[in-house]
């Protein structure tokens, strides 16, 4: 079994991804010094505190039910504060649970492309988070993948499981230290939402203009399961390409993706979300907001594939152009192979409407103030399904990062 996986990975070693520009892996090294474990997140050197905060990670561990921190290629901290939760490195979980055979490479295929192969062949941990059956911990777990060494490859493999009828909330931040000019982050994330369970996953990407990012994520959702994904990218990045897929396998399974993207500088972003509605009455809603400025190039994709009875899917992509040298391409796709289903999409790209600015000025705002109110409003997606405290925190996080970019 394991041998077969390694073999498949070997064969895919040079397999280019279908989307996104090709990253030469050899530019980045897997050789980097190990970091010592810490006994509390607060022990992270002070120079990094802001980098964590910017990615939504709370160094004080306050209002968190567990924390995980991986620095470069070393796991330096993992702790669960609730008995209903497990938080550890994937390496540890693989050893503890006989290779995690039911989960590892079951949602994402190991030979999808050279990046998935790379993670199998040269892994550097990642996190394992699981909520026990029937448990409901509304306080979120936080997980941070942090790069502090220049020119490294961080190849993480994350496994997230919500057992039957449990509820699991995760805030995850990927961040890079101000001292790093270039690096590659590859993150495999496999989510398993069991019968009647719910996962909310709020991810903040806090990269810099020299970082290549290739996440590969998939979600398996069983009967009555709910998966809610909020993604926030407000900082420049060299290139990012990802297309997470939710498989609504069970009856009444539900997937929601909400992506908020502010693309400045020379960022090259190819980002989408996909839902496969194969369980009867399963539903998906994929929403994205993209603001492109400077010379950013953004491709916003969305894909819903309905193959079962009475499924429902909606895709919404809105883009706002703030520069004549930026490019936004919106590619919504719907596929239906049943007659009794309902799939829809709306896409719109435009500039800030003059009359909206004038209207706000008629209430007393200056032109600049009016513009920023409109931009904040544009990115103000209703975040549903999160516990109140977490929803408030997410909104605050978004407001703070917006203030920084505007």
């Amino acid at each position: 079994m394991t041998e077969e996986i390694i073999e498949r990975a070997q064969r895919a070693k040079t397999k280019k991804a279908l989307l996104g520009e090709d990253v030469d892996l050899e530019q980045y090294t897997t050789k980097t010094g190990e970091h010592q474990a810490i006994s509390a997140l607060g022990e992270i050197p002070r120079e990094y505190t802001q980098d964590l905060l910017d990615a939504g990670i709370e160094p004080s561990e306050k209002d968190r039910s567990g924390s995980f921190l991986q620095r470069d290629r070393s796991v330096v901290f993992s702790k669960a504060l609730s008995k209903s939760l497990e938080v550890m490195s994937t390496t540890e979980a693989v050893a503890k649970y006989g290779g995690l055979k039911d989960y590892l490479w079951k949602a994402v295929s190991v030979d999808a492309d050279k990046y998935t192969a790379e993670v199998e062949l040269a892994p550097s941990h990642g996190y394992f988070i699981r909520s026990k059956a029937g448990s409901k911990v509304t306080i979120p777990v936080q997980a941070c993948l942090f790069i502090t060494a220049d020119k490294i490859r961080q190849n993480v493999h994350n496994i997230i499981i919500a057992e039957e009828n449990s509820e699991l909330h995760i805030i995850t931040g990927c961040s890079v230290s101000h001292a790093v000019n270039s690096a590659l982050h590859i993150g495999i994330s496999e989510f398993y939402v069991k019968r009647g369970a719910k996962i909310t996953f709020t991810m903040v990407h806090n990269w810099r203009s020299g970082i290549d990012v290739r996440p590969r994520s998939a979600v398996m959702i069983e009967d009555d399961g709910v998966f809610i994904n909020n993604y926030i990218l407000m900082k420049p990045v060299k290139s990012i390409q990802m297309y997470p897929t939710a498989y609504c396998v069970g009856k009444n399974a539900r997937a929601n993706f909400q992506s908020i993207i502010f693309a400045p500088g020379n960022s090259k972003i190819d980002l989408g979300s996909r839902a496969v509605l194969q369980g009867e009455r399963s539903r998906a809603e994929l929403i994205s907001r993209v603001i492109a400025t400077d010379n950013a190039k953004v491709i916003a994709r969305g894909d819903i594939n309905g193959t079962a009875e009475h499924v429902k899917g909606h895709l919404e992509c809105r883009g706002l152009m703030l520069s004549d040298t930026a490019v936004v391409e919106s590619i919504p796709e719907l596929k239906a192979s049943r007659k009794d289903l309902d799939l829809s999409h709306e896409a719109a790209v435009g500039k800030i409407a003059e009359e909206e600015i004038r209207y706000l000025m008629a209430r007393g705002l200056s032109e600049e103030e009016a513009t920023s109110v409109i931009i904040r409003g544009f990115l103000n997606v209703d975040i549903t399904g999160l516990p109140d405290a977490l929803a408030r925190e997410t909104k605050k996080m978004l407001a703070l990062s917006l203030e920084k970019v505007m």
């Binding site: 706000l360 008629a362 200056s366 409003g377 544009f378």
Partner: protein, 253 residues
């Protein structure tokens, strides 16, 4: 309060208002009638200073300040406010945010003060949380506009067709609040606020007692007079008599 002298306004290169004169004293409310396309809204937008409405000639004085070249927000700071007929939809900006902005605060939190103001217009917290003007009915737009003015409390208020698309139930509420905003409950010598109301149908006149009425034809004020008389005439004969007397043509009736 407001004095317009010899005003000529162009929109997209076309002259809409020609040599218009209008004076509204402190405490006075004027109503402006006129058929569609005669320049009523253009006049309000020019007073508010929207750049698409280009002043080619003349001056606008507000509280003795020449505001002809001031940006809209500066005019608003001086005490001007407007209830729009067709306000734009702004995604993600809640009605509650607009109320906060009108109150001179940052958007973002819908607190008790906003909720209290909303109650006066039968506006629920749920409605305050909707994106402004997105999918609002005719009556909801009017109530939302009046709510923002209640927060803003301008000294000079302009209402662009406050009665269009509003059902009977709401029109009385809107009329009452307009009277309150304009300080019409006070005796004339103590009235501080002024207003300019545009109405095409004249419907709102059942609830308001303005001081003076004008009829606008072809970009000019064609006749002015006592509101009751002019309203009666318009209700009975539309604009024909005014047209006859002034020798103007009716724009798009």
């Amino acid at each position: 309060m407001l004095e317009i002298r010899d005003l000529t306004v162009q929109v997209e290169g076309k002259e809409i208002i020609k040599d218009l004169n209008l004076c509204i004293e402190r405490g006075e409310v004027h109503v402006l009638f006129g058929p569609n396309g005669c320049g009523k809204t253009t006049l309000l937008m020019a007073i508010l200073g929207f750049p698409a409405y280009k002043v080619k000639k003349g001056t606008i004085l507000f509280k003795d300040v020449d505001i002809t070249n001031l940006p809209t927000n500066e005019r608003v700071k001086l005490g001007m406010g407007m209830s729009f007929q067709h306000p734009p939809e702004i995604r993600g900006v809640k009605l509650g945010d607009m109320v906060n902005i009108a109150l001179g605060r940052k958007e973002g939190r819908i607190d008790e003060r906003v909720v209290e103001l909303g109650k006066r217009l039968n506006i629920s917290v749920e409605f305050l949380n909707r994106d402004v003007n997105l999918g609002f009915s005719g009556g909801e737009v009017k109530r939302s506009e009046i709510l923002q003015l209640l927060a803003q409390i301008p000294d000079f208020l302009m209402f662009d067709e406050p009665d269009s698309g509003v059902d009977v139930e709401n029109i009385e509420l809107i009329g009452d609040l307009m009277n309150e905003l304009l300080g019409r409950d006070k005796i004339p010598s103590q009235r501080e606020r002024s207003g300019l109301i545009i109405t095409h149908s004249g419907f709102i006149m059942r609830y308001l007692k303005p001081d003076r009425a004008h009829v606008m034809l072809d970009g000019q004020i064609a006749c002015s007079g006592v509101p009751d008389e002019i309203t009666r005439e318009i209700m009975e004969e539309r604009f024909e008599r005014c047209v006859e007397l002034c020798g103007k043509k009716v724009c798009e009736e």
